[in-house]
């Protein structure tokens, strides 16, 4: 699946999880002006893991603690609204947490 033929919900989150791939993540990130490094992947994989385990898309605080990436660093990695950007790129739903 590539960027042209994926479906998203009205807010831009991936409609079908099966569509997600690392390639797609790279494309989605590039669209947001982010080029994914190892540090980005640590954050993204953590978000995906928490979502898979708990069935609930995590907020930044959980992602930060579990990935051992400080909040400040996360904002550097994903400058424009990290909670939304991470969920969109990681192919998980809009975060269900306020923190």
């Amino acid at each position: 699946m590539s960027l042209q033929n994926i479906q998203t919900d009205p807010e831009g989150y991936l409609a079908n999880r099966e569509d997600w791939s690392e390639e797609l993540a790279n494309e989605l990130a590039a669209q947001m002006g982010v080029s994914l490094t190892e540090e980005h992947w640590k954050v993204l994989n953590t978000a995906r893991a928490i979502d898979a385990e708990s069935g609930s898309s995590p907020g930044l605080r959980k992602i930060s603690k579990r990935s051992e990436t400080p909040i400040k660093a996360i904002y550097k990695l994903f400058p424009e609204g990290p909670a939304k950007a991470i969920a969109k790129i990681a192919g998980i739903p809009k975060p269900k947490s306020c923190l």
């Binding site: 009205p10 605080r61 959980k62 909040i71 909670a83 939304k84 950007a85 923190l99």
Partner: protein, 159 residues
């Protein structure tokens, strides 16, 4: 979904005017939610709200039960010495369970998230405080008019 490109970026100004433990959180949570969603956010601490960023008070904010119709206790009991303190301890525990950070940590988190925080000049004068009495994350001390200028085009929330 694509942005139309001609909209101005969203921006949020939160005015925190209350210093009780329970009323400190809503403003902090809203500003944090804004930053997580890519919305610019700033906070203005005025009157009792200054307690939230007062170095001496930030770790000791109290729940407000007396005169609060939502309090789980009759006002007469809520007013007894130590009752509010006890209720505050209970609420702190519950928040810890939910991993909601204590106020000081929350202020640090907001600073890391790029939210700007300001103290109210008039309130500081009234309480005979200076910027040095506030936590270091408070960027500056402003007049209400300064804050209004800074909030041009922003959505304003008063708490």
């Amino acid at each position: 979904m694509t942005d139309s490109g001609n909209e101005k970026p969203r921006s949020l100004s939160v005015i925190c005017s209350k210093g009780s433990f329970d009323m400190a959180y809503p403003g902090l949570i809203l500003a944090n939610a804004a930053r997580m969603a890519g919305v610019d956010a700033r906070l203005f601490f005025t009157f009792w709200g200054l307690d939230i960023v007062n170095e001496k008070k930030i770790d000791h904010l109290h729940l407000n039960l007396v005169g609060n119709p939502s309090a789980p206790l009759p006002a007469m009991i809520a007013g007894l010495p130590g009752v509010e303190a006890l209720a505050t301890v209970q609420m702190r525990k519950e928040m810890e369970r939910l991993d909601i950070p204590p106020i000081r940590e929350f202020i640090e988190m907001l600073d890391d998230a790029g939210a700007d925080m300001y103290g109210c000049q008039m309130a500081l004068d009234m309480f005979k405080l200076t910027k040095d009495d506030l936590v270091p994350q408070v960027k500056d001390v402003l007049t209400a008019m300064d804050f209004m200028d800074m909030s041009e085009g922003a959505q304003i929330i008063f708490i």
